[in-house]
Symmetry: D2
Subunit: 352 residues, 4 copies
């Protein structure tokens, strides 16, 4: 059993890490930290874990983590990881970071998109962007893996195949994201109050979303260095879990369905957590978060719009799993040499 710790275990991504790792056959959680809930049972914050574990949150303590862990998940707020991770790395630990602090390769992107200078720019080139579908071999060897933003991963996985195939106008990619309330985290506010948040279709970030930077970075890599411009808009919808990414991209020439099928199938042929969803029958003919809630799948599908010369590329994920804690465990499995899907085989709950 490999000993792992979770820093920032009282948020929703922390709760999902706990759920997944408590049942994982090859790891043992030695520490789960939370400043706010120190000494409290984890099941008081994550009531689904009642009866499953008597673990208590602890105040974060670097020495203890270093002594008792081989690998640490940092589910800390943006800006905290960049200070903590270097010290854990120095002590020889492996890190799966769920914050944004090591996702961007270009240090200048931090002041531009996040408003602060990165304190350890030297680690940005070492950190691996934690999307196994794009960087599996680097993740296997990495000390530090930066898990992608939840909306970013949805956009990237929908778009990477056609971007690689060179069939899109890369300077005018529209990424229209619909998102559940768990993505806003566990802290209450007026805008997340049930009476206010229920029933909304709220365009909470129509322009300037920070995940834009990640999507552009990764699609640029996929396209071998072309200039990629992503026009992203984020909406809050009336669900708790789930993201649908609708990517509107203009085609540079004629493409038929058969070709697009080939493009996607080749790109994702052996991927354990990608499902192509483009069906003629059934209620779920295209990706919909309803069909992935509770699983680590990313469902990917597409439609060609001949009238407008457009490709509509679609993806659906559970934002707390493939969009955060699920992909984090997938990355851990790769880093520790376990089967990639170990502890992640649960399909979605349906209907829920």
């Amino acid at each position: 059993m490999v000993k792992v710790g979770i820093v920032g275990a009282s948020g929703y991504t922390g709760g999902e890490l706990l759920r997944l790792l408590l049942l994982h056959p090859e790891v043992e959680i030695t520490h789960a930290t939370s400043r706010e809930y120190a000494d409290e049972y984890v099941f008081r914050v994550h009531p689904n874990l009642r009866g499953l574990s008597n673990l208590r949150f602890e105040r974060p303590n670097l020495e203890v983590l270093v002594k008792d862990c081989e690998l640490v998940f940092t589910a800390t707020p943006h800006g905290v990881s960049s200070k903590l991770v270097p010290r854990l790395l120095e002590a020889g630990l492996k890190i799966v970071d769920l914050s944004a602090d090591f996702r961007l390769k270009n240090p200048e992107d931090y002041p531009k998109w996040y408003g602060w200078n990165h304190p350890h720019p030297e680690l940005l080139s070492e950190a691996v962007y934690g999307v196994p579908e794009l960087h599996r071999e680097e993740i296997r060897k990495a000390r530090l893996v930066a898990c992608p933003g939840c909306m970013a991963i949805a956009g990237i996985l929908a778009l990477a195949p056609p971007v690689k195939a060179g069939i899109l106008d890369l300077e005018r990619i529209v990424l229209d994201v619909k998102m559940g309330s768990s993505g806003a985290g566990i802290k209450p506010s007026r805008s997340t109050h049930h009476a206010e948040r229920y029933g909304v279709v709220r365009p909470y970030k129509p322009a300037g979303h920070r995940h834009t930077a990640e999507v552009e970075q990764e699609l640029k890599l996929v396209s071998n260095g072309a200039n990629v411009r992503v026009a992203m808009s984020a909406h809050a919808v009336n669900i708790v879990r789930g993201i649908l990414a609708t990517c509107h991209a203009f085609l540079t020439g004629e493409v038929d369905q058969a070709k697009l099928w080939r493009i996607y199938r080749e790109f994702y042929k052996d991927e354990p957590f990608i499902r192509m969803v483009k069906d003629r029958k059934g209620v779920c003919k295209l990706p919909d978060p309803k069909a992935v809630v509770g699983s680590n799948y990313c469902d990917v599908g597409f439609e060609i719009d001949r009238h407008a010369g457009r490709l509509v590329a679609l993806s659906a994920i559970d934002n707390l799993l493939k969009g955060a804690s699920g992909i984090a465990v997938q990355n851990m499995n790769l880093m520790l040499g376990f089967p990639e899907d170990l502890g992640l085989k649960q399909p979605a709950l349906y209907p829920v």
Copy 2:
């Protein structure tokens, strides 16, 4: 009191017509027809009307309608109105049609978008597209008004001002619509079953939506004949009422906020049912259907995305009101010479 009839009164738009007209001070409902529910009390189908009216549905009867009505609302399925309306017009009635049958000016658009040839193409030029914000004076004089599609009106009202201002690339307008379940009508199916429909973010028509034709037609008019190409995608979200239209349009040059404010304010300056929503404070800083449910308002707002050279134009409506029965009554008020907002002053219910 002007005598009016409602053909197709047992659907959701019929129910809203009944609710609005029963309280309207200048009209009297003489007939409400429904084949399926003939002889049944209207409150058995529309339980909110219990106690308000003892009206019963009747089997549709042309002679009776002609005898007892001055104006008829046709809330009939697409393809039915085109047969019924000519006979009602011939008998001297005024018509407010809620179907798609008289929305398009070009007869060739019917086979293209709807798959059938229009039986009365001569009426298409006479029919007025029922958006008062664009065609108020024509509506006042019209015998036949075709109310817009619910998604179409949302897209048109968000986009008309900047399209008219000539600041957009008109050939690549993305219209990403999020819609409540009442838009699917009152007839149950597997895909609208609560357990299946609840919690979805379902891309049910990512390309080829019929409302595309109306949006292009009207934006072309607004732009004085430019070629407009709309790339529309429709999504089902977990609400009953409401539409959010997110329009992603690329700017042809530099535009600042002040200029856009002027463009919108000038276009909509005295409109009784348009609210500009672009605020710095509060939970509703931009249009959200949650803030219009139950009202005839269309909330309009925008955001400029400098990074991508994009305008995000947003609009929110209650699909059964400004998207159907509310705008129908607004059109009736204009046609009959009543104050435009008569019977339509109720603000939204909030929170709901």
Copy 3:
């Protein structure tokens, strides 16, 4: 136009008072107070009122209220009204209080159920419990009307007729209430956070709910002084507006449907805001808050359970209307000599 003020106008009941009174033909809102939002536009907190009013919240000021108002609504937290109301009464104003501070007749019930001694017990006998269906004539003459608790009114209206008829075991009345999130008020907390509150069926007060006292007080009156014991349990369900009260009461003898119909019909025969709902057809055969949302109706229905010798008495209200601001306006209409339903005729929105 009668000048009225609203103290505590930034909560949900304050928002509904504003909505109803802004459209009321006989009153003018001269002041709407809020400590938290002083100087802010009311539409920033109540986004449905955008475009309808440019009113701003003011800091509460007794002198100004006295000078500019004939009647004041106090939508203040429990414990605040009991201090404020006596001073407003002394200055000659009429008061409609939405708090619990003047609902109970017996001063000893305040320490028992609320945990504090009432500072003005002499006003408790003067205050009229604001249920027009029980105390209409007293309300007409009252200076001070105490609007009922939202769950209390639901329980009382479902039970009053059979209690009066003397057919129930009054010592074992179970009142099982299901309630929307707006009942918890506008202040966010962990338990009302969308991700936590969505999808619950949470027994948040299975015993000891304070509204028990009101229900017992009023049913005792209705029963001419019998001892009434109510076993109340309150649950939070996944809606924003609405209450269903399921009252389980044991019958003291044989009663048939016809007799119960007579009992209810006689009790409520001319009531403008009670609808009997017990139908053989349609989707809404019995009371359901879905069919009253947005209206001032209380739907009442029942079922006889011969197997268990039980009456199931049911009522559904919109907690912000018949459960708070709607009944408050109904009381105001009575106190000011207006038609009782003035400004309250809107039926429910359906479906929503």
Copy 4:
């Protein structure tokens, strides 16, 4: 690997059986039948299973089932199982029946509660009522196990300990159930149409619910033959999965919390799927289906109401798991000699 079949695999309980059994380490699904969807991939109906299995539905065929299965789950409509099961038993198979056809011991209860005479009353005494918490040893030896009704199991598990302890008035037990839409099955209807079903608190069966018979039967057993009278009411609430049972029972004498804790703890001390939930802290202080969705747990808690001399006993389950397919697999595990929780260890998804 034990070979099992599922008859009636295209409903929601069938879908959950498929999900659980596809991942179960000791069984192999050899047949999944559905008349309606014969030859269709199971993932077309249960989209969460896409990628997990290429199984197709088959038309039910008795010979094939007998040849290829050791145990069969019958998830067939009420009235169908009673004809099918005897033939499967005769052929030597073990049966886990999810219908109501073998739950009741007294043949006369079928005409009384279900309206038909049981065709095989001789099997009613052999069939074991499938609640391991009450009949574990009989289940281990059974050929035929009848899984309980989803609302019945919730009521039984909440009430069995205090009923056994003899502290309740058994003739006046109120069982007020709140239920998600998946309990209505997969077939669409007007009353389950999203626009109609969303947001309801609908008292769809205030009296006379069939599950009453099971609850009385089992509580009578627990109480050693006392007469038990259950007054049950069923409500539909706005969730897909989950049941909360609120049991209002009058105490025959003084009981304190400590004693009740002992009563419950002793009854459920080693139960793998019962969690006592009665906490002073956290958002989930009492049972709530939100904390069990996706798991086989039944959360049980209580509150004492001294004012009314009442015990409020509460339980929460996922109606498709502990209320149907989860308990079915738990029963299968017992019948086949596997660890009772095999394939059932997943905790709830939270939040969802």
